[in-house]
């Protein structure tokens, strides 16, 4: 098993997880430092301060499971739609690649939500 870092919504954070980044309140004061192990008290503070997502370290499989064909197709569609807007950027530059990845992931999420609401 390898150690991986992952951003999780607060609802999925459980006691014993290790924080990978400082957790700050709305005015930039550090509530808890990176490296701390999440306790029940931390969770209460995070809820009180409206923290929504945290970056944590946890053990993960050495080989992540392959995404489904449906997810891959949705990603490809979002990538094709998004790429022309990024044509003046250098997509091999790591921060641009990361930002592009975030935009694609969000577009996939949005299409899933709109699909879900259409189905309903």
């Amino acid at each position: 098993m390898a150690i991986v870092t992952i951003v999780l919504p607060l609802d999925e954070i459980v006691e014993g997880m290790e924080l990978d980044a400082d957790v700050m309140d709305g005015v930039g004061r550090a509530l808890v430092r990176a490296g701390a192990i999440v306790t029940e008290k931390h969770l209460r503070i995070f809820h009180m301060c409206g923290i929504q997502e945290l970056r944590v370290r946890r053990q993960g499989p050495d080989d992540a499971p392959e995404p489904s064909a449906e997810v891959l197709a949705a990603r490809q569609e979002a990538d094709d739609l998004m790429r022309p807007r990024f044509r003046r950027t250098d997509l091999t530059h790591p921060p641009v690649a990361a930002l592009f990845g975030e935009c694609v992931a969000r577009a996939v999420d949005r299409s899933r939500w709109s699909g879900a609401s259409t189905d309903a």
Binding site: T5, V7, D20, A21, M24, D25, G26, V27, G28, M48, C49, G50, I51, Q52, E53, R55, R85, F86, R87, R88, T89, D90, H93, P94, P95, V96, A98, L99, F100, E102, C103, R106
Partner: protein
């Protein structure tokens, strides 16, 4: 063709900084002033007080308990920070008179607010003092484009048309059309409003951030934030493509790449809240009546 300072002089008829900001500046610059003096000036402007309290009680700050008074807000957030938020609020009002057929003001301010939130998020992560200062710089970064749309509508329409179906950025088309761009005009406007030099520089050079110098970090923050807001398609200020990210500007900020998803999440989470607070919508038409009290 008129120069940036001449355009600004003409635009000032429609866009002068509201007197509340001038009065707040006087109070905060007076060493004898207390927190209550600042609160008193803000409370004289009921719409500003209301907007300030809504902002302090929103996801923008995420305070665990409700903030009910301006004095409480100043104590929690800080005098300088409240002053910056008051400036942000005032600036939106300065442009209320711009005809709707010239600019999509709603889209424009949505893009500016996205850039402002990203800038504040970066400043908080870099532990820079008074992160609200970066919020204001983000909010104002494209304000020169409003002046261009207002004062030079036909050349701007041609510049926009020149970008259609090409790889050209609007900022490049502006340079080809006028010999300068909206960032130069924005800097001239902020100078005419006598706003701080750091703010003028961050706005004036956000498309060509300097490598070194007193304001290099401030400018890099606004540059990176503009790219983020464009990439996330938060609003629209005329630029159809995501502008290129300046590598040295990114490096100068020393941000951890792994924090980018958290920053993007911050921006997306706060954007709708801050838009609802800063922009006022007409009940009947649904159109943004920007900053109306």
């Amino acid at each position: 063709m008129r120069r940036p300072a001449e355009l600004v002089q003409a635009a000032m008829r429609l866009a002068s900084l509201p007197s509340i900001y001038v009065r707040l500046s006087e109070v905060t610059n007076d060493a004898r002033s207390t927190c209550s003096d600042v609160a008193r000036v803000i409370q004289e402007d009921t719409s500003l007080s209301a907007r300030l309290l809504r902002l302090v009680n929103s996801a923008f700050y995420g305070f665990p308990s409700r903030v009910d008074t301006v004095t409480q807000a100043i104590n929690l957030v800080g005098t300088n920070q409240v002053m910056e938020l008051a400036l942000a609020s005032s600036v939106l009002r300065a442009f209320e008179g711009i005809p709707k057929d010239r600019v999509d003001m709603d889209g424009f301010w949505r893009h500016s607010i996205g850039t402002a939130i990203a800038a504040r998020s970066i400043a908080l992560r870099r532990r820079l003092p008074n992160a609200e200062r970066y919020f204001v710089a983000g909010l104002l970064h494209d304000v020169g484009r409003l002046v261009l749309f207002l004062e030079e509508p036909e050349p701007m329409a041609l510049a926009l048309a020149a970008c259609d179906g090409t790889d050209a950025l609007l900022v490049e088309a502006e340079r080809a059309t006028f010999g300068f761009d909206h960032a130069d005009v924005g800097r001239a406007l902020l100078a005419s409003w006598k706003l701080p030099a750091a703010l003028q520089e961050a706005v004036g050079r956000h498309h060509a951030p300097p490598r070194v110098g007193e304001h290099a970090v401030d400018t890099a923050i606004i540059h990176v934030s503009d790219v983020i807001a464009n990439a996330l398609e938060l609003g629209f200020s005329g630029e159809r493509l995501v502008p290129p990210l300046d590598g040295p500007a990114w490096t100068l900020l020393g941000l951890d790449l792994a924090e980018l998803p958290l920053m993007v999440a911050d921006v997306e989470r706060q954007h709708a809240d801050v838009v609802q607070i800063m922009l006022v919508y007409d009940h009947w038409s649904g159109e943004a009546v920007v900053g109306a009290g």
